[in-house]
């Protein structure tokens, strides 16, 4: 077990390094000089003083060759120094920006996951209980339908419906905390993303459990149906749902990217888009580091938790 986890850890670490290397290389050779870009886009380029640009480059260590820059970045990162933003929020430490932005997205993400899990598991159980009857088909089809509409279509359509036609709410805009009215729409929409995975996983696990002999035994003993479902069925059903955590994370990241952009919520998704649009190296690297870590850690946690929840997996 320990060696299995160690190999996993090693693999993911190599993967992380590789991704950081590729990201940095793509920015260095592809995106170009952010200082020059800054003067082209925001200042009058003719007045740009070559000496000023050189000084700025030196300040951010952008005057060094690629390998030196990348090594420098890793060295500083290992010491907890994420660098300073070049253009987005000039000269502010990236770590500070991430510490402000990430919690907003995480609150949205956790709230959405909670809703998605409760709704998804309930729908999956219901569908399995009514297997191959109209309720099952309705649930499966509706989930498929709702989740196949892209999030950047859902949000504008909901805005049209709720704001313009029904006049139920004012335009949600920005971030005023998770318990503010404006957080309802983003949380609800982000929650749609992970739904199909959860419903499908719950439904198929439930179908498998339904025909187990201990369920028949429980029924023969005369236990009430609700108790059978809650006590005997749900636990083995919930276990495989844990494996979808990786997919849930990707759905959340994708969701928050668009939702935060459309509703102008200053979270991590919006930071990603802003950083990329302004070619802010340290921001893009931070996004790559955090994004990769979120995916890797969630996969890693599944590897650890799953054998604890399901003893049958431990045998291998």
């Amino acid at each position: 077990m320990a060696s299995f986890l160690l190999i996993r850890l090693l693999r993911w670490s190599v993967g992380l390094l590789l991704i950081l290397f590729v990201t940095y290389a793509m920015m260095y050779y592809g995106a170009g000089d952010p200082i020059r870009m800054m003067f082209i886009q925001e200042e009058d380029f003719d007045t740009a003083d070559e000496a000023v640009m050189r000084a700025l480059r030196a300040k951010y260590g952008l005057d060094q060759p690629f390998i030196a820059q990348f090594g420098n970045y890793l060295h500083k990162l290992a010491q907890g120094d994420w660098g300073r933003s070049i253009r987005l929020q000039v000269d502010r430490p990236v770590l500070e920006i991430v510490q402000f932005r990430l919690p907003i997205s995480m609150q949205l993400g956790f709230a959405a996951t909670a809703i998605s899990a409760v709704v998804g598991i309930a729908l999956g159980v219901l569908a399995a209980l009514y297997h191959n009857r109209w309720l099952d088909r309705l649930i499966v089809t509706t989930v498929l339908f709702v989740t196949s509409i892209p999030i950047f279509v859902t949000v504008p359509m909901l805005l049209l419906l709720l704001v313009l036609i029904l006049k139920l709410i004012p335009v949600p805009y920005g971030w005023h905390g998770l318990f503010h009215r404006d957080a309802i729409l983003p949380v609800a929409v982000i929650a749609i993303g992970p739904l199909p995975g959860i419903v499908r996983q719950t439904r198929s696990a439930m179908l498998e459990v339904k025909s187990q002999q201990y369920i028949t035994t429980a029924r023969a003993k005369g236990l009430p149906e609700a108790r059978i479902i809650l006590r005997h069925m749900l636990r083995p059903v919930l276990t495989p749902v844990v494996t979808t955590v990786g997919l849930i994370m990707i759905a959340l990241i994708n969701g928050s990217l668009f939702v935060e952009l459309i509703l102008n919520i200053p979270g991590f998704g919006l930071l990603t888009i802003e950083g990329i649009r302004k070619v802010d190296y340290p921001i893009i690297m931070a996004v790559a580091v955090v994004g990769t870590l979120i995916i890797f850690v969630s996969n890693f946690v599944v590897d650890i938790i799953y054998p604890i929840l399901d003893p049958r997996v431990r045998v291998q």
Partner: protein, 327 residues
């Protein structure tokens, strides 16, 4: 069918399961029958057919040039002249939607072809060679699949566009070949490649799995025992059996490519103006959504319908082609 013909047919298939149904059908006929019973999947199929036809002929039947601006006629609602109204520059929305259909279909088609070729080569090689080759190739594909695909595509498109355009400029300076002057189609190539990069690992995994599992089947063992060549086993057993899941995966991949293209252009990254794309039309329409909602509504509804159609088509194909469902 005369009585005697019927007799020979039944006796010919007497040792087959299908004798109970009175006639012989192969997997594909069987799948087509099951598919046609699923009306949602059929509806999805029809929508996709309409989408592809419009993409093919649309730009030729479009009432206006999709680039033609007329500021005087900006922000018109649907009318006889302009079936779906006009946008902020007075361009005909219907003509632009038709061009957007072509953009989406082009991206879906080329992305699928490229990722299919890479996926078949890598997956097949991985499955046949096994060992270290297999481990390495699957590690790479795992790594790409673990990434949020959208972020990867965004990164590729934002960083690689400029150097390639510069490179083409330099080539033009050197050769004076007008071929290098037109860089509009570079956007497309970049989008195809980026989408194919995240698309191939899924297909490679699928094909590797199929090659491995079909090679384990008893009928392949029997064929080997009878002295069948590897080539015969590949053509006769592995490929026909892998085709069903592949069709499902390719359909899903095409839908995914259309979605990602729309996402990219919605973020202002993929296909650049003046080329028309549904994603960028949605983004442009979003600026005026409280005053002229139709500009946002039309591309949004279209993207939604096409995505739903792809998903239901894929779902129906999956149900129809899954051999385990044949009972």
């Amino acid at each position: 069918m005369s009585e005697s013909e019927r007799g020979t047919k039944i006796s010919r298939v007497i040792d087959d399961d299908s004798v109970f149904l009175g006639e012989q059908r192969n997997l594909w006929q069987d799948a087509a029958r099951r598919f046609s019973r699923n009306w949602l999947a059929v509806a999805g199929f029809l929508v996709i057919v309409v989408f592809l036809v419009l993409a093919l002929i649309g730009p030729h039947v479009a009432p206006y040039d999709f680039l033609e601006q007329n500021i005087v006629k900006a922000f018109q609602g649907p009318s006889n002249d302009h079936f779906l109204g006009t946008d902020d520059l007075g361009r005909d929305v219907f003509s632009r939607m038709l061009h957007g259909a072509r953009t989406a279909a082009l991206v879906a088609f080329f992305t699928t072809i490229i990722s299919l070729v890479i996926g078949v080569v890598v997956g097949g090689w991985s499955g046949i060679r096994g060992g270290r080759t297999d481990q390495f190739l699957m590690w790479i594909s795992d790594l790409i699949q673990a990434m949020p695909g959208l972020l990867l595509v965004i990164l590729i498109n934002t960083t690689l566009r400029r150097p390639i355009v510069n490179w083409f400029d330099a080539l033009y300076e050197q050769t004076r070949n007008p071929f290098y002057l037109n860089t509009l189609w570079l956007d497309y190539v970049l989008v195809f490649s980026a989408l194919a990069l995240i698309g191939w690992p899924g297909l490679a995994r699928l094909i590797r799995g199929q090659v491995l599992s079909i090679n384990e089947e008893d009928y392949v063992l029997a064929a080997r025992a009878l002295g069948a060549s590897e080539r015969h086993i590949m053509l006769r057993h592995v490929i026909p059996n892998a085709l069903g899941p592949l069709v499902v995966a390719v359909t899903a991949g095409m839908g995914g490519a259309v979605l990602l293209e729309a996402s990219l252009s919605f973020l202002g990254i993929g296909i650049q103006p003046p080329n028309a794309s549904w994603g960028s039309m949605l983004e442009e329409g979003r600026r005026y959504w409280q005053i002229f909602p139709h500009l946002m509504l039309i591309p949004a509804v279209t993207i939604g319908i096409v995505q739903v159609a792809f998903v239901f088509l894929g779902d129906g194909l999956n149900d129809a082609l899954d051999p385990r469902r044949i009972s």
